[in-house]
């Protein structure tokens, strides 16, 4: 009880409801608005004044570019097509990796023999940045669809496995005692304790994987692609079209943000007991 009051006082001390002019000006939402408006204005000014030569497009030019792309076909498909192609690659690579990595990670943490066999090989590959695989995957699979999916799968595999593995290893042993005291078997322990207790860690792993997946996708598409959002950025780079580059960046950021939102929603459904600590 006292801790909730403590939070209350801290809250009331830091978020005072303001009536004076200064307090109204420093209201959080006012600040957010000022900040965003300032950001776009600054961007616009910098572009308008040619601080970076002709290598920065003004915000409304970027918006126009995106609108135009959504209307006409560009390199064989319109904007929605490019977005969908990229999303598909991410979904397949991410799906493939998580379907293999999460169960493998869980299995490794539950069976020490599996752990002894897989962990050392995994540790060999772990420090290698996923983007380093781009070249070899092109060597192996050419520039087709599979080489991109492969990089994404490789990149997402590591965090998925690592988090599932640690998720179980870091469970407090007292939780197992609860089941053991009630006469539960090893199977009960695993189903009743290990799996649910590792959920939050698994979801954290999925979150990380997803952001890695978009980075890998981008790397793959920048290296070689005929469609997708990375292709738009690369084309913008090759034809020196900053509006196209920025448009691509906006799109990929939006997709990355949306997909991570989706995972958060899923997580909230899957583990409603998890208190959400205020974080960024």
């Amino acid at each position: 009880m006292s801790s909730s009051i403590a939070n209350e006082t801290v809250g009331s001390a830091s978020v005072r409801e303001g009536r004076t002019l200064w307090e109204m000006l420093t209201n959080t939402y006012v600040l957010y608005f000022v900040s965003l408006a300032g950001f776009f204005l600054l961007w616009d000014r910098v572009a308008y004044l040619h601080v970076f030569g002709d290598s920065l497009a003004r915000p409304h030019v970027v918006a126009q570019k995106l609108y135009m792309l959504s209307q006409v076909k560009f390199a064989g498909t319109n904007l929605a097509g490019h977005i969908w192609v990229s999303t598909q690659r991410v979904l397949i690579g991410f799906g493939l990796a998580s379907v293999i990595a999460v169960p493998l990670g869980l299995f490794m943490s539950l069976n020490q023999y599996a752990n002894a066999i897989v962990k050392p090989i995994f540790d060999l590959f772990k420090p290698m940045p996923p983007i380093a695989w781009v070249s070899i995957s092109i060597l192996w699979f050419g520039i087709g669809e599979f080489s991109k999916v492969f990089i994404i799968a490789i990149g997402t595999f590591v965090p998925c496995l690592l988090n599932a593995y640690n998720g179980i290893r870091l469970i407090e042993p007292e939780l197992y005692d609860v089941v053991r005291v009630l006469g539960g078997s090893r199977k009960d322990e695993i189903i009743q304790v290990s799996f649910p207790a590792s959920f939050p860690a698994i979801f954290a792993g999925l979150q990380i994987s997803l952001s890695v997946a978009w980075t890998c996708l981008l790397a793959a598409e920048l290296m070689n692609a005929r469609d997708g959002m990375g292709f738009l950025i690369k084309r913008g780079m090759d034809t020196h079209d900053p509006a196209l580059v920025l448009g691509g960046m906006v799109l990929i950021a939006a997709m990355a943000w949306l997909s991570s939102l989706l995972i958060s929603l899923l997580e909230r459904k899957a583990c409603p007991w998890k208190r959400s600590i205020e974080n960024l």
Binding site: M1, S2, S3, I5, E8, T9, S12, A13
Partner: protein, 248 residues
């Protein structure tokens, strides 16, 4: 021991959260150097009461006067011993005891002298250079109490400081509290849910009612010290307070 000078005067203290009235025009006075215990039924808003008194929370109405002036943490010496341990883990025991004085801007030489004196009284000298996570739970609470006394507060608020300790340690620390208070002549408001504890340490007991909280009764405890739990007069007062809390 206590002079007739009124140190703290609380009038019409009211606190509302929206429609919920938690404190309802509370009024009382505390003389300089007096140790007053505050008891009340569970959930009667004791902590809110202290938070309002210490100005952590703004009061909705009413005033808290210290020496006739509106209380202000920057101007007055107000100390607060929380229920939870509040030691800074990255400071040694000694630095923790000195922390309150540091914020108050007590000069270095005086700060060191007062720190040493207090640590001597409560027996912390031997672990002065340890870190809080190296000492026991009761030690941690003693550090907080020492820090609070060290600033020589105009008003010292204690929120069930010994609530989470075992009985034996509590007896010991209660004696220590009384010693500290007698030696330093501080004005103390001691909130507790333990009636025996209240009768043991306090000169006067304020009994609070259930929400909305009011001061329901004032019971002077005019027993000589050291007090004895089994003495008839002690048991009588304890009985009296218990009845008051039960029949709210």
């Amino acid at each position: 021991m206590s002079s007739e000078h009124v140190k703290i005067r609380v009038t019409n203290l009211t606190k509302r959260f929206g429609d919920l009235t938690v404190l309802d025009s509370i009024a009382f006075e505390v003389k300089a150097g007096e140790l007053v215990a505050i008891v009340g039924p569970t959930g009667c808003g004791k902590t809110t009461f202290l938070n309002t008194l210490s100005k952590l929370m703004p009061a909705t109405e009413g005033s808290i006067l210290i020496d006739g002036e509106e209380a202000n943490p920057r101007r007055h010496n107000i100390s607060y011993v929380f229920q939870e341990p509040t030691c800074l883990p990255w400071r040694t025991v000694r630095e923790n005891v000195a922390y309150g004085m540091e914020i108050k801007g007590v000069p270095h030489a005086e700060r060191m002298e007062r720190t040493d004196r207090i640590m001597e009284i409560v027996g912390l000298s031997s672990c002065a250079h340890l870190y809080p996570n190296q000492v026991s739970a009761s030690m941690v609470q003693r550090i907080a109490v020492s820090r609070a006394f060290a600033v020589e507060p105009d008003l010292l608020l204690m929120d069930e400081p010994y609530g989470q300790l075992d009985v034996k340690l509590r007896y010991y620390l209660e004696d220590e509290l009384v010693t500290l208070w007698q030696k330093l002549q501080s004005t103390v408001l001691f909130v507790t849910h333990n009636i025996e504890e209240a009768v043991y340490v306090a000169e006067r007991i304020l009994v609070l009612s259930n929400k909305p909280t009011k001061v329901k009764a004032e019971i002077p405890v005019d027993l000589p010290r050291p007090r004895d739990f089994l003495e008839p007069r002690f048991m009588e007062i304890r009985q009296q307070v218990t009845e008051l809390i039960r029949w709210w």
